[in-house]
């Protein structure tokens, strides 16, 4: 059964039509190649929108490693009890399908107690402790495991987190109620605010709407009062630029950058915000 001739000899000379067809096919191939490559570049389009740094979920690797290792499955989204984690769309900073936290809308309040998002991550884009081959930025490492106020009385009061995801910063001192010595009465961010938080006096395991938990404080200290981490922020007496003494929220080293202060600040826009991916600089 070896009577077949070599294909070149068997082929009749190609007709003009065939040649034209082949040429058109090549043109289309080149066109589609260009199209797909162009579309692939649109994957970088988010970079254009990336002027504001996104806050990543707790335990996120440094940004470049994080973007490389995130598989965009959203398992972190699924386990979060307050649904703080969202997946980025085309216009939401780097990476379609990569998780981020919009702290003002819904901060991470650690109401899961165990940083479930890290546990859920299948690729190690979120980690309790970085593997040895990845460096730790100076000031990113927390001096001690953060103590969660909510479980301060538990045998194990700490949170399994070794690096901060950002640092809180008072950026609008002029409108801060604490600095002005003013109180706050009512619902934070209004009645329509959808953000949720765990209140230990309501239920340890069931976060409730912030709107359902109105405040009435003589001197505003919501950022300090609701901060989930012990010793991360306090109201201190400080000297104003004009030399007079006044009260002000002051952020301390244990701050992990969860963003609860940003969410709970009753002033619009928030006086205190998270510098995403920032390190402790003093």
């Amino acid at each position: 059964m070896n009577d077949s001739k070599p294909p070149a000899a068997a082929k009749p000379p190609a007709s003009r039509e065939r040649i034209q067809q082949a040429r058109r096919k090549w043109l289309r191939t080149i066109l589609l190649t260009g199209g797909v490559t162009g579309a692939a570049l649109s994957g970088f389009l988010p970079l254009v929108y990336a002027r504001t740094k996104r806050l990543r979920p707790p335990g996120a690797l440094d940004e470049k490693d994080f973007l490389a290792s995130c598989i965009k499955c959203g398992q972190c989204v699924q386990v979060c009890p307050v649904q703080a984690i969202k997946l980025a769309d085309l216009v939401d900073g780097v990476g379609v399908g990569v998780p981020y936290i919009d702290a003002r809308e819904q901060a991470c309040d650690f109401s899961c107690d165990a940083v479930q998002c890290i546990l859920a991550c299948p690729t190690g884009a979120l980690v309790y402790k970085k593997p040895a081959f990845l460096g730790v930025r100076k000031g990113a490492k927390l001096a001690a495991a953060p103590i969660l106020k909510a479980k301060e009385k538990d045998p194990e009061p700490t949170l399994n987190l070794s690096e901060r995801i950002g640092v809180a910063r008072l950026i609008r001192q002029e409108s801060c109620l604490a600095i002005q010595g003013k109180g706050f009465k009512g619902q934070v961010q209004g009645a329509g605010f959808k953000g949720r938080m765990r209140y230990m006096d309501v239920d340890r395991w069931k976060p409730v709407k912030v709107a359902d938990h109105p405040y009435d404080v003589a001197e505003c200290d919501l950022c300090v009062r609701e901060c989930p981490v012990k010793g991360a922020i306090s109201i201190e007496t400080v000297f104003a630029p004009d030399g007079t003494k006044r009260k002000s929220p002051v952020v301390h080293e244990p701050c992990v950058g969860c963003g609860v202060c940003e969410m709970i600040c009753p002033v619009e826009p928030a006086c205190i915000v998270i510098d995403a991916r920032e390190v402790w600089n003093t």
């Binding site: 070896n2 077949s4 994957g43 290792s69 995130c70 965009k72 989204v77 085309l90 299948p122 690729t123």
Partner: protein, 326 residues
Amino acid sequence: MNQFLKRRFFDQIAVMFGREARKPAAISDRAQEIHILKRATNKERLQQAMVAHEKASKVHTWRNRRWAVLIIANLMFTFSFWFDIQILEGALTASRFVGFHLIDLNSALQVMLAHKHIIVNLVIGTGTVFVLWLLLGGRTFCSWVCPYHLVAEWAEKIHLWLVKKKLVTDQAIDRRLRTGSWLVFAVLAVATGYTVFESISPTGILSRALIYGPALALLWVLALLVFEVFFSRRAWCRYACPIGLTYGVVGIFSPVRIKYKLDGCFHEGDCRKVCLVPHVLDTVIKGRAVDTEVPIGPDCTRCGLCVDTCPTGSLTFDVKGLSKLL
């Protein structure tokens, strides 16, 4: 496996990577005998049978089963999240099935290439999925699970209707493009340290949209579908998607495949008309089958459309070894 089938086995791997399917260089004696006998068959009887087939109502057994599996698989993701029942958490790129890690092979590859480190969980999940699709047929993933495959199938119906109305024509594209795009995305992942393909993968985008709600990224999926409807039939799956190639490679060694039986075949070619990857069915062309029974190559998505459409039952699902065992 005899020498003819062995040669075809390697030939079909080359075809998967984009080479055109060729006439076989040698054919087994028994198959040749059938080919010769077929030339002597009564043409009138064949014609009658084909007319009868034309009039017969269409069978959709395998298609319906497949659509059911595909929809249920994708809804399992959605419902696991919506109702917090935690059966299948995550998205198609990576998930947990009652706690077990499952990670899409192509996504895992992209992450490994971009991150340049391999993490234990990633290996476990990838291993599980590799074994799963090795057993189930490689590109079975495409037609039985991938949500883009389903919407593309619906878009294909519109395309074929437009073709019938002579409003559009199917523009064929060189299949080597897919191998090229696989390489391009692999290189891009290594070079940029960013999983570039993941941000445009319609499979990932659709899967996330089904679970976490619609996103602007769906516009890209829509653009692909428009291209497929008006310009080139099933262009993404046929000519561009690297996921298909990754699973195709797994399918090389898979026992689940479609088997072709030469003797009953009419060679009327209906199977090739419905097929997503007709180059794997070149063996059904008159005189091409190298043996009396030929397994279909690894680029086949095991979708079963050909099985449904075949009037003579010459194409069937087959599990290597199992049929012998039974």
